[in-house]
């Protein structure tokens, strides 16, 4: 039974990766957006190569991980394929895990490629061989966390991708600005630094800083613990909210004018 579940999750992840990586919203918000954001951030400023690396890796990881997961459920609701999956021998949890894994893998692959491209001409950028492991753990946890965040936003029972992407951006940008990418946590007064703890991105940038220029305030262990805590919270919220809103995705007739006449007395 367990192997059947694993096979289903893998099949769903493969399907999600092949079908959704080339979709417009994924390309725009996952690749183009961080690219232009990085360009506008570094052009005309005096920023060290270490800071650029941290910024690029953190933003790529954050944007790619939150690109696929929010669009899958609205698209599949509109195309009715979600209903097909729910009536197939696939559990609700397997469907959600299929989305999380596809989104996480997409983020890890893209971020790893960008990191390698950046590290190759600057091999002394990384503090020690152990730092590579820390970077990988950081981008992996960010991949999971971003995917969960995207999935959580898509718990709104709509079939309009644009609705979800607007909401997603509304959440993403504040989290990016208090995520320690542009201003390190260590250089902030404690009254403002506390705000940074509300962005999961802070802990990833802290791990990147510890691996590159050691300007981190938090140790890697603390950052990992915080990230795992955020993951547990988002996982629970996803489970609860999607269970609650999933039936509403198919009850469009229930809100139609004809049905309103049949309300309970």
């Amino acid at each position: 039974m367990r192997s059947e579940s694993l096979r289903n999750i893998w099949m769903l992840s493969k399907k999600n990766m092949t079908l959704y990586v080339k979709r417009g919203p994924v390309l725009i918000f996952g690749l183009m957006f961080p690219f232009f954001l990085v360009i506008s951030w570094i052009l005309g400023r005096t920023i060290t190569i270490h800071q650029i690396f941290i910024g690029i890796v953190a933003m790529t990881s954050f944007f790619t991980s939150t690109a696929i997961s929010p669009v899958i459920l609205p698209i599949e609701t509109r195309e009715k394929s979600l209903e097909r999956l729910l009536s197939a021998p696939v559990s609700f949890n397997e469907i959600l895990l299929g989305i999380i894994i596809a989104s996480t893998l997409y983020s890890i692959i893209i971020t790893s490629i960008i990191s390698i491209i950046f590290i190759l001409p600057f091999p002394t950028l990384i503090a020690s061989p152990f730092s590579y492991i820390i970077i990988f753990i950081g981008i992996s946890l960010m991949g999971v966390l971003g995917s969960l965040l995207g999935l959580l936003v898509s718990s709104k029972p709509t079939d309009m991708t644009s609705d979800i992407m607007v909401l997603m951006n509304l959440i993403k940008f504040p989290l990016l600005f208090i995520g320690g990418v542009f201003i390190p946590l260590s250089s902030l007064p404690s009254s403002i630094a506390i705000l940074y703890f509300f962005s999961p991105l802070t802990f990833v940038t802290e791990m990147l800083r510890s691996s590159v220029d050691q300007t981190n305030l938090l140790s890697n262990e603390v950052s990992i613990l915080f990230l795992i805590g955020w993951i547990a919270l988002f996982l629970t919220l996803n489970y609860v909210l999607h269970r609650k809103t999933m039936p509403k995705r198919f009850s469009e007739a229930a809100s139609g004018p004809k049905m309103k006449k049949m309300r309970k007395k």
Binding site: M11, K80, P89, M262
Partner: protein, 309 residues
């Protein structure tokens, strides 16, 4: 089964049985609860606390994965992945239903040939016409050789050629011993292919009968239509009116709704003979399932009148 959406009762304590090898049709106006019933049966909606679906005596909520493998579902609107090819959609379906690669290959070839889709195997689903998409849906539903088929308005919006293919396939599947549950708006289709019909309105089942019994139990069993050669006098019309439930249409054409057609034909014959009137046309129309359906829905106490499509 019961299903509520906040303050709306979509399905209201309904209970029915479907026998192995039977074709059961669910009819009803828009919003009657047909699709919600199917979604409850197939596990798309979670069953409410006291609701139960039993398939071969097994509870759907206790072993959903095992029982869902017995279903083949054909939706009204194609739910195949539009960016996948026909073959990719079939391969994905086969894997999700736990078929081996060899079995998928074998079944795909058989079904593509049966539904005349062989030359479309590498075509993207979004490029297919509605009729071809529906044939693909049937292939996906039959790939794992389910014993129960659930079809949600399978011929809705199809061209006559595709309708014939789909209907013939449904009858062929019945001959293969499949149990079939079908929702439709098409009365002719229901009359042709269903062994038994459930009529739903406002989340309730208001009739559960064979198509023949539904018509027999309906009091307005027939309609007599006849055309007089000459215009009737006022007295003659009054006389006819006193004998029958008469409706005059244009050009001396009359329509009589009859509960006992043989008796009424005899009265009409006597009247024509006595008044020396000749008729130029005569038809005896059997009550259609459509008339029964409209009558039942209209008589359902809470009907608001605008629910029939």
């Amino acid at each position: 089964m019961t299903k509520n959406f906040e303050d709306l009762i979509a399905v209201n304590h309904i209970s029915f049985r479907i026998e192995e090898g039977e074709i059961l049709g669910i009819l009803g106006p828009n919003g009657a609860g047909k699709t919600t019933t199917i979604r409850l049966l197939t596990g798309v909606f979670e069953l409410e606390e006291k609701s139960r679906v039993k398939i071969y005596s097994e509870d759907l909520t206790k072993s959903p994965k095992k029982l869902k493998k017995l279903f083949g579902i054909v939706p009204e609107i194609s739910n195949a992945y539009s960016d996948y090819t026909v073959l990719q959609n079939l391969n994905f379906s086969g894997t999700i239903y736990g078929l081996s690669k060899t079995k998928i290959k074998e079944r795909v070839n058989t079904l593509l040939e049966r539904f005349e889709l062989g030359d479309k195997r590498y075509a993207k689903t979004k490029t297919l016409s509605k009729g071809l998409k529906q044939r693909l849906n049937l292939c996906m539903a039959l790939l794992h050789q389910p014993s129960i088929l659930i079809l949600d308005e399978p011929t809705s919006g199809l061209d006559p050629f595709s309708v014939t293919i789909v209907r013939n396939q449904i009858l062929e599947l019945k001959n293969e011993g499949k149990t079939i549950l079908i929702t439709t708006h098409n009365m002719q289709e229901a009359q042709q292919i269903c062994d038994r019909i459930l009529i739903m309105n406002r989340g309730n089942i208001i009739a559960d009968e064979t198509p023949d019994n539904l018509r027999k139990n309906f009091k307005q069993t027939s309609t007599l239509v006849f055309k007089m050669q000459d215009t009737l006098s006022y007295e003659q019309k009054e006389k006819l009116n006193s004998m029958f439930n008469l409706k005059e249409e244009n050009n001396n054409l009359f329509r009589v709704i009859s509960e006992n057609p043989l008796e009424d034909i005899s009265y009409l014959y006597d009247f024509l003979k006595k008044n020396k009137i000749q008729i130029t046309d005569f038809k005896l129309l059997e009550t259609s399932l459509e008339e029964v359906f409209i009558h039942l829905i209209k008589n359902d106490s809470k009907f608001t009148g605008d629910d029939i499509r």
